[in-house]
Amino acid sequence: MAPPPPQSNRSPSPSQPSGKSEVSDLKLQLRQLAGSRAPGTDDSKRDLFKKVISNMTIGIDVSSLFGEMVMCSATSDIVLKKMCYLYVGNYAKVNPDLALLTINFLQRDCKDQDPMIRGLALRSLCSLRVANLVEYLVGPLGSGLKDNNSYVRTVAVIGVLKLYHISATTCIDADFPETLKHLMLNDQDTQVVANCLSALQEIWTLESTTSEEAARERENLHSKPYVYYFLNRIKEFSEWAQCLVMELVAKYIPSDNSEIFDIMNLLEDRLQHANGAVVLATTKVFLHLTLSMADVHQQVYERIKAPLLTQVSSGSPEQSYAILSHLHLLVMRAPYIFSSDYKHFYCQYNEPSYVKKLKLEMLTAVANESNTYEIVTELCEYAANVDIPIARESIRAVGKIALQQYDVNAIVDRLLQFLEMEKDYVTSEALVLVKDLLRKYPQWSQDCIAVVGNISSNNVQEPKAKAALIWMLGEYSQDMHDAPYVLESLVENWDEEHSAEVRLHLLTAVMKCFFKRPPETQKALGAALAAGLADFHQDVHDRALFYYRLLQYNVSVAESVVNPPKQAVSVFADTQSSEVKDRIFDEFNSLSVVYQKPSYMFTDKEHRGTLEFSDELGNLSINAETGDSVVPAQRVEENDKDLLLSTTEKDDVRDPGSNGSAYNAPSYNGSVPSATSQPLADLAFSSTGATGQAPAPGLAIDDLLGLDFSVGTATTPSPPPLTLNPKAVLDPGTFQQKWRQLPISLSEEYSLSPLGIASLVTPNALLRHMQSHSIQCIASGGQSPNFKFFFFAQKAEEASIYLVECIINTSSAKSQIKIKADDQSSSQAFSTLFQSALSKFGLP
């Protein structure tokens, strides 16, 4: 009897027997059984093997038993064999020397009478994945491919692929791809054919980077003879293999329309398949085949609608979600087709929130004249939902529908009812919506103002809602009896107002009110401007100053700036560009659809070309999407902020100081007769920034206005001989390529000023700083204390590019820099420039 095993820290749970003594005990027992031929040996072996494998499964390292296990493997019992194969497969990679011992019995088993054993042995042999054993694989694989049993052939085909991954040259030298091709076109068994297809696709894709022939072969797979060959056998394939074939067909370009119809007729019954994966793969084929034929494409939507809806309602929750994501994409592309099926998108009480969000978006999209009433009624019921985010989302959905419909009578009533519901979040959301609605339908102002006027500003806490309320107070101050006094009391509480957005709106609203009702507002205006000028927030300060000077300069000009005649906003900017949607559509039936972004936005290194830092890039993008899952509007924005791909362009367009998204729609068109007053104010404000009062936010605007401040600042005390192009552009792909190709020309360590370290709390500050020195950031990541940045810069008047990897450790205040350059000779000069730029970071 073994003593009670001591607790090992490897054991995941105390109840599991574990530890060294257990393993050595097993070792002993295995040894005793190894040579025994007594009857019943197999049974005791089986028990022992089970113990070993259960230990392995729990996570205990039993690799020390390798030798004994191999010794015991001489048996005719197939279960024992299987367990042994499993064990060997798991540990061969870490014990390459011992793995050699197993080759012998595996090779023998590959010649067994029983096809099952031949197959299993071959599979295990290929799963050893030990590079120096590949020579032993070729023989058994070759005979496996010629085996008269289809099971063995199936295994052998996948074996070839495994071999390719261990040693590509061995696989190619043995001419296995050619054999597979022959099998693919001639084998009776469709599983063998399907495996050949998947193996060849993988091998040829990987080979095609080096071999033209492989690339040609891969292209050939999409050619007519191949596609027809597979299509003709489609019904014989297993459901999974059918998915594979469909993928292939979706890439096939038919020569004429009759071909398209033939294919669709052939595949139509696949839409009725019980397996959702097949249905979706078929859907993809249909959609892609008919892209060029608008009317047929339309009919395809009609045809696929019912099967997809059935899948959604009859599958397990997981399946429903995957289908629903795809349906979401289709609904967004062609809402009118689904407008009569809106009831399918009604939310069920116990559905998870991510499903509800998808459904809410779809409901919003399919709303039209005929169904708006029902949809809005339904959405209003969700507003009383226990799940607050969903309640908010549904109120927003009502608002969106109101903004896209012509007949908004009923909806406005509903929204106003929300305002009376006395629920904080409901009121907040409704206020924001009423504001948007008024911008589009000024004719509703009478009704809305009556209700809004009853809302006490004390009851509204959320900044966005408060800003909306203040905007309405300013805009409709002539209709709201006590607007000036409400504003006045808000100004009195200036210091308690934490949101800069609200304070900005308050300034503007008081200004507007002043021009409409001067005597009543004068006091409030004075107080607001004074408070604004003393405000610590740069934007608020600047806007107050701007208003102040404007008033000093000329009151009537000020009025025309703050209170111009307004046009109703007809279209609010779409949040997700149609280009992105198209890209996602091209990737139908893939993860892209679930994530609602094209794969280039989220797939990792292996599939976009490798680079050392792509790990961090991957992390960044993933962090962005794990948090919240679905709303595209937010996601795209987050994406922009977090992905940090091409920060250069983004920063040019985005005013870093403005955090309100309500007005970002029509702004920055720059022309004077702007639609609303707000953008104008923003623009005007930015020009004050550009005069040098606000260095940080101003810099981004410099580019916007085409003013070239950056070069000036870059060439401070002792102007280095090297000047950089302030508007250098490089896309991430080229960066990666260059980084791989170029040697490191300089590697240095600088120290950073403590002020710089302190400012590094937000890495973005450094990015903007370096940008002002004409050094652009292409990617950044990391967490305190270690940050990693990739920069690039371009010589002025020359195409020569510098690439920099900069690792900053904030605790040691050191930065390690690696520079790669097209022009090696000037890299020292660039390094000096980079160092001087970096050392100035954080200095006032």
């Binding site: 089986r46 494998i53 994966a277 997981e318 009480y349 939902n385 993860l591």
Partner: protein
């Protein structure tokens, strides 16, 4: 292409790990997954597709067991999910129920199954009939057999004949003393009744379940009296498409044993068999609740297992509810269940009582949704009727049995 499959227990422990490709996925991904899921709000816990820093994860949860698959490459998400569902079904069928202990006791079988179901990340054989020929299930029969014959191997000696046959879902040549086919119509009614008592949505998702034990290679045809009511259908791979398309006849060679022949959907039903009428009136911090349940259109059979469940809003401090029929239970998480059982013929059951709102709240703003459960034996509420079932090609007499059952699916009443 999947790279790895893990089975996790309800405490996040790895029960089983199956590496599929040369790229070894480290177990630590499970810890990441577990921490991630637990940090999510409740309604996000079961999100089927998750991006981890290194892999994309697919999860399917069944009876507390999480089936987790990892991949790094782009692939059809539904394929992964469908496959995991299939794995769960097959293991469930083999072990007669899913739980941590049964998987641990039979992990060799689970490994064997996974080995045959997926190779190098690509799904292979997932048909239960075929798998059973390759790997014998650990049932009592095989245990008895192994004791009697002394052969305790649970792997059959021969390869399944049908891997090469043209009917890949069917065992080659089963033999039965009694040939019988049972056809069940199992329907689920999904309905939503809104605050005003209007039936906003009502549809039925039905399944035709067949249990067939017939010697040889039978060719069956099944027809309905009123196939036109079906809005959409999907079939088991064994169903031939053409006869359905032209004559709405199901013609098929069935797999052996129990299987799902067809799913269908019937939309736009006009009424529900029972009504549930909740009434809430609140004033001065007290809310009065009254719920009535009764038969609306008598389906001709008894409605039983009637159950009304709802979640009290978080703003409710305490509840005092009594019913005229059945029992009311309020759990600590504010889930309230009213089990009625069979609705009595003479009097409609009702539940009433008061809810005390949290202090400072005058009226209720968030209203509960009532989820209703019921079961009716012997009726398919969609009205679908089986016309006849014929057996071709095999000259046996066989026993046919038909049954029907309707239960509530997502049946909810808002208040």
């Amino acid at each position: 292409m999947l790279q790895c499959i893990f089975l996790l227990s309800d405490s996040g422990e790895v029960i089983l790990e199956k590496q599929l490709t040369g790229h070894r996925v480290d177990r630590s991904i499970c810890n990441w997954f577990w921490d991630h899921t637990n940090s999510q709000p409740n309604s996000y816990k079961q999100q089927p597709v998750i991006a981890s820093p290194t892999h994309y994860l697919f999860q399917v949860c069944r009876e507390g067991i999480t089936f987790l698959a990892c991949t790094q490459v782009e692939m059809p998400p539904l394929m992964a999910i469908e496959f995991l569902c299939r794995v769960a079904d097959v293991i469930n069928g083999y072990l007669g129920g899913l739980n941590e202990d049964s998987i641990k006791d039979n992990f060799v079988i689970v490994y064997e199954l996974l080995d045959e179901m997926i190779d190098n990340g690509f799904p292979l054989t997932t048909e239960p009939n075929i798998l059973q020929e390759m790997i014998a299930p650990p049932n009592i029969v095989s245990k008895v057999l192994s004791v009697v014959t002394g052969n305790s191997s649970n792997v059959s000696d021969t390869l399944p004949g049908s891997t090469a046959s043209c009917v890949p879902w069917r065992t080659a040549d089963p033999k039965y003393a009694n040939n019988e086919v049972y056809v069940d119509l199992v329907e689920q009614m999904d309905a939503t009744i809104n605050r005003d008592g209007v039936l906003v949505k009502c549809e039925i998702n039905g399944e035709v379940q067949v249990n067939s034990h017939i010697t040889g290679l039978p060719d069956l045809t099944l027809s309905f009296a009123n196939p036109s009511i079906l809005d959409d259908v999907r079939f088991h791979p064994c169903v031939r498409f053409r006869p359905w398309e032209s004559n709405q006849i199901l013609s098929f060679v069935p797999p052996d044993g129990q299987f799902k022949l067809m799913n269908y959907r019937v939309r736009k039903l006009k009424s529900t068999p029972i009504y549930v009428k909740p009434q809430l009136t609140s004033d001065g911090g007290i809310c009065r609740l009254n719920v009535m349940v009764g038969m609306r259109n008598d389906p001709g059979k008894t409605v039983d297992s009637v159950n009304v469940q709802f979640q009290l809003p978080p703003c409710i401090l305490s509840a005092d509810l009594t019913s005229t029929h059945g029992t009311v239970n309020i759990l600590s998480n504010k889930t309230c269940t009213w089990s009625i059982g069979r609705i009595p013929k003479d009097k409609a059951p009702s539940m009433s009582g008061t809810l005390v709102l949290e202090t400072g709240l005058e009226r209720l703003h968030v209203f509960p949704t009532f989820q209703v459960d019921f079961r009716i034996m012997g009726v398919a509420l969609s009205g679908l009727q089986i016309d006849k079932l014929d057996l071709k090609t095999v000259p046996y007499r066989f026993y046919k049995g038909f049954r029907a059952l309707t239960r509530a699916g997502e049946f909810e009443v808002r208040s």
